[in-house]
C-alpha cells in the first residue's frame, strides 16, 4: 500500500516534469517539409517571394520579424545551436558573418555561388563580401548602394538642382537652411548614428576609412579628426534634423521636415509605404566626395544576406531556395515588389529612377565602392561607435574624446585578434 502510494507519487512527479520538458521542446520538427522558417530584421513584405518560390520550387516562407535589432541578433545567436533555429535568416556581411562562420553555424554556399557567377547572375565583387577564408556563405537578397534621396517638391520650390560636388551640396544646404528647411535627416542610436561619420570619413580619405576598419589605423589619427570636423561644422550650422526624434525617416521626408536623406537603394520600398513615388516625389543623387580617391567618388555598398542554418532541419530546401533567390526570376519578382534595383543583370528592374542611379554608381571609371560602416566595423567597435557618435551628435563639440573612447575598444578588439 505504502509502496503503491510512493509509486503513484513518483509517477505524478515524472509526468509533471516530462510535461514541462515537453513544453519546451520543438514540436514542429517535420523534416522534408517545404515551409521554411525565416527569421528576419527588415520588416519587409516577403509574400511575393514566398508565392513565387512556391510556384517554381514548392518552397514557401513562414516569416518571423524582429523589429528590434538587438533582440534579433540575440535570438539568432542563441537559437542557431538549438532545435529552435530558423531554417534561413537575414544577417550582415563582414565581421558579423565571420563570427557565425567561425562557429560553423551557417551553411556553405560555395557551389551556389560558383553556378551564379558562371551564369553571370552576380558580379564577383559581390562574391567577395560573402567570402570567408575562401568559401562562400549566405546569398544576397539584394545589393544596395548608398545615395542621397531628395524631396523634389522642396528642391523645386527653392530652385535647387541635385549637387555634383560636396560644396554644391553644402550650398544647397545653406539655401534650405536660410528658408527654414532642415537640409539633412539624421538619427541617433542603433543603427543610424554612424552615417555621417561614414560619409565624411570615406568622403575625405577612403584608405584611412578602410584601414581603421581593418585595425590598421586609429580613430585618433588626424585624418579622422579632420573628417569629424566637417561633420561638426554641419552640426553647428544646424544642418541636421533632431537626432533624438523618434518620427520615422519616411514621415520626416514626406512632411518636408528634412530635404535630403542618405540611405541605401532599399529605401524606396519604405518610401512607398507613405505614398511617396519615385521621379515625381523624390529623386536620388550620388553623394559627392569631399576629396576624390584617385579621381573616383566613393559609394557605400551594403547587402542584405540571407543565410542558411548549418544544422537546420530543412537545409536542403533552404539551399535550393538560396540558389533560386539569385536567379533572374526571383530578382525580378523582388525588384517589382520592393521597387528596388536587382543585382542580377538579367533581371528586370522595376524602377527607372533607381535604374539610372544604379548605372551611374556602378561605372567603375567614376565611382569606387566601399563596405558600409555597419558591416565593416567589428561588432564591439560598432557598438561603441554608435554610442559615441550618438553622444557627439546630441551635444556637438570637439570629437576627440569620443574618438578616443572608440579607439580604446578598437585597440582592445584588434589586440585580441593577434
Amino acid at each position: 500500500m505504502k509502496a503503491r502510494k510512493w509509486l503513484a507519487a513518483i509517477v505524478v512527479a515524472t509526468a509533471v516534469t516530462a510535461g514541462l520538458v515537453g513544453c519546451s521542446s520543438n514540436s514542429s520538427g517535420s523534416s522534408g517539409s517545404t515551409t521554411l522558417n525565416f527569421v528576419e530584421d527588415k520588416g519587409w513584405n516577403y509574400d511575393p517571394l514566398s508565392t513565387a518560390a512556391k510556384k517554381s520550387l514548392g518552397v514557401s516562407l513562414k516569416t518571423n520579424t524582429y523589429s528590434n535589432e538587438n533582440q534579433f541578433q540575440a535570438f539568432v545567436k542563441q537559437s542557431l545551436r538549438t532545435p529552435k533555429a530558423p531554417d534561413i535568416f537575414t544577417w550582415h556581411t563582414g565581421a558579423q558573418l565571420e563570427q557565425l562562420v567561425s562557429q560553423g553555424l551557417v551553411a556553405d554556399t560555395s557551389s551556389i555561388w560558383k553556378k551564379a557567377i558562371a551564369k553571370n547572375w552576380v558580379s564577383p565583387s559581390i562574391e567577395k563580401m560573402f567570402t570567408v577564408d575562401g568559401k562562400q556563405y549566405c546569398v544576397p537578397l539584394e545589393v544596395d548602394y548608398w545615395g542621397m534621396y531628395y524631396n523634389k517638391a522642396i528642391f523645386a520650390k527653392y530652385n535647387l538642382a541635385p549637387p555634383t560636388t560636396w560644396s554644391e551640396m553644402l550650398n544647397d544646404a545653406a539655401t534650405l537652411k536660410s528658408h527654414g528647411v532642415v537640409p539633412f535627416y539624421s538619427q541617433d542610436g542603433n543603427p543610424w548614428a554612424f552615417v555621417y561619420y561614414m560619409l565624411t570619413m570615406a568622403g575625405t580619405d577612403l584608405n584611412e576609412y578602410n584601414a581603421i576598419n581593418e585595425g590598421k589605423a586609429s580613430y585618433t589619427d588626424p585624418q579622422v579628426k579632420k573628417a569629424m570636423d566637417v561633420w561638426l561644422k554641419m552640426l553647428q550650422k544646424g544642418y541636421f534634423s533632431d537626432p533624438g526624434s523618434k518620427t520615422p525617416s519616411q514621415t520626416v521626408f514626406k512632411d518636408g521636415d528634412a530635404a535630403m536623406q542618405p540611405f541605401g537603394t532599399w529605401y524606396p520600398g519604405t518610401l512607398a509605404k507613405v505614398g511617396m513615388k519615385p521621379g515625381s516625389d523624390w529623386g536620388i543623387f550620388p553623394i559627392p566626395a569631399i576629396t576624390k580617391q584617385n579621381g573616383k567618388t566613393p559609394v557605400a555598398v551594403e547587402t542584405a544576406p540571407v543565410c542558411v542554418t548549418a544544422k537546420g532541419a530543412n537545409k536542403a530546401a533552404a539551399l535550393k531556395y538560396s540558389q533560386w533567390l539569385m536567379s533572374p526570376s526571383a530578382q525580378s519578382t523582388w525588384s517589382k515588389a520592393q521597387g528596388i534595383l536587382p543585382y542580377n543583370p538579367q533581371a528586370k528592374a522595376a524602377n527607372s529612377t533607381l535604374q539610372g542611379f544604379g548605372k551611374q554608381v556602378t561605372d567603375a571609371a567614376k565611382y569606387t565602392t566601399y563596405l558600409r560602416y555597419y558591416e565593416a566595423a567589428p561588432a564591439p567597435v560598432l557598438t561603441s561607435a554608435l554610442n559615441n557618435f550618438t553622444g557627439f551628435m546630441t551635444a556637438p563639440s570637439d570629437p576627440t574624446k569620443y574618438l578616443k573612447s572608440i579607439q580604446s575598444v578598437s585597440s582592445q578588439y584588434w589586440a585580441s585578434k593577434k
Binding site: 512527479a13 541578433q73 542563441q78 557565425l100 541617433d188 533632431d242 561588432a379 554610442n387 546630441t394
Partner: protein, 300 residues
C-alpha cells in the same frame, strides 16, 4: 511506527519533488550559471573561457558602469523622495475626508499600467519637440527647447518623475492601510493634550505608522535598484549610455554588446547590492519596529 513515518516522509518528498525540482531548475540553476558566466569571457557564440575576476575588474573601470551606478543611486534616492513622500502626503491629507476614496482614485489608476506603457506615454510627452515642449512653447514659457531625455542627470530625474506618476498611488494605498490600523485612543489623548498638525504627525502618527513605512520604503528601495523597463523604453539608456541603470547596463552589455560575461558580472553585482540593501534595511527596521508588520515585510 518508524517505518510508517518513513513512508510518509518519502511520499511527501515525492509530492514535493516536482516543486523543488522546478525551483531548482528555474531559480537556483540560473543563478549558479550566471555566477559561472561572470567568470568567463562568453560572447554568446564561442565556448566560454575562464577569465577569473577579469569581468569584475573591467566592470569597475568602465565609465559607463560607474555612470550607471550613479544613476541607480539617483533612482533609489529619487523614488524615496517623490513616490514615497508624495504617497504619504496623499494618504495623510486625504485620510478621514468625506470623498477621500474618490480623491485617491486618480492616483491609483496609473498603477494598473505596465512600466513599458508608462515609458511609451512619457516618451511622447518628453521627447524633443514632444507634447511638453509644444505646450511650453504655446504658453511662451522659457525652456521649451530643453532636451529632456538627452542631458544627464536631467533625463534620469524626469524618468523618476514619470515613474512616480505610477508609483504614488500604491504607496498612498499602503500608507492609508497603515493609518487605518492606528488605534484611535492614543491619538485622542494626544489631541486632548494639545498636539495638533505637524506636532501630532511627527510625535504620534509617524512612529505608529512604522510598519507601513517599513514595507513601502523596503519595496521602493528594491524596486528602484532594479529599474529597467521605463529606462529601456524611454532612452534605451542613452544617449551614449548616460541614463543607464544597473538593470539596463546588464541588458546592454549582454545582448547589445554580446559580452555575456560582463553582463553576468553586472547581474551578480546588482543581486548582491539588492539583497544587501534589503537585509540591512529590514534588519534594522525589524529590530526597532514592532512585530505586527514583520511577517508582511519578510514576505515582501
Amino acid at each position: 511506527m518508524h517505518s510508517k513515518s518513513n513512508g510518509y516522509q518519502r511520499s511527501a518528498w515525492a509530492f514535493m519533488g516536482p516543486g523543488v525540482a522546478l525551483v531548482l531548475l528555474a531559480m537556483y540553476i540560473p543563478v549558479v550559471y550566471t555566477m559561472y558566466l561572470s567568470l568567463t569571457d562568453y560572447n554568446g557564440l564561442d565556448t566560454p573561457q575562464f577569465v577569473g575576476l577579469q569581468n569584475y575588474v573591467t566592470m569597475f573601470s568602465d565609465p559607463s558602469f560607474l555612470m550607471s551606478l550613479l544613476n541607480t543611486a539617483i533612482w533609489v534616492v529619487g523614488t524615496l523622495i517623490v513616490p514615497v513622500g508624495v504617497g504619504l502626503l496623499v494618504a495623510y491629507l486625504s485620510f478621514g475626508l468625506k470623498w477621500a476614496s474618490l480623491f485617491r482614485i486618480p492616483f491609483l489608476i496609473p498603477y494598473a499600467l505596465s512600466g513599458v506603457a508608462i515609458g511609451v506615454v512619457f516618451n511622447f510627452i518628453l521627447q524633443n519637440g514632444g507634447a511638453l515642449s509644444q505646450a511650453m512653447a504655446f504658453f511662451h514659457l522659457p525652456g521649451a527647447d530643453t532636451h529632456w531625455l538627452e542631458v544627464a542627470p536631467l533625463n534620469t530625474i524626469v524618468m523618476i518623475l514619470a515613474s512616480s506618476w505610477q508609483g504614488i498611488g500604491v504607496n498612498a494605498l499602503l500608507f492609508i492601510v497603515g493609518l487605518q490600523s492606528i488605534p484611535k485612543e492614543p491619538l485622542e489623548a494626544a489631541r486632548i493634550d494639545g498636539a495638533n498638525g505637524l506636532r501630532l504627525f511627527t510625535t504620534m502618527i509617524w512612529p505608529l505608522l512604522r510598519p507601513s513605512t517599513t514595507i513601502v520604503v523596503g519595496l521602493s528601495i528594491v524596486n528602484s535598484l532594479k529599474t529597467f523597463d521605463i529606462v529601456e523604453t524611454m532612452t534605451q539608456g542613452g544617449p551614449n549610455r548616460i541614463s543607464e541603470t544597473l538593470g539596463v547596463t546588464m541588458y546592454s552589455d549582454t545582448f547589445q554588446n554580446s559580452q555575456y560575461g560582463l553582463g553576468a558580472a553586472v547581474a551578480i553585482f546588482l543581486t548582491i547590492v539588492t539583497v544587501a540593501a534589503s537585509v540591512l534595511y529590514l534588519r534594522r527596521q525589524l529590530a526597532i519596529g514592532d512585530s505586527s508588520g514583520s511577517g508582511k515585510v519578510a514576505e515582501a
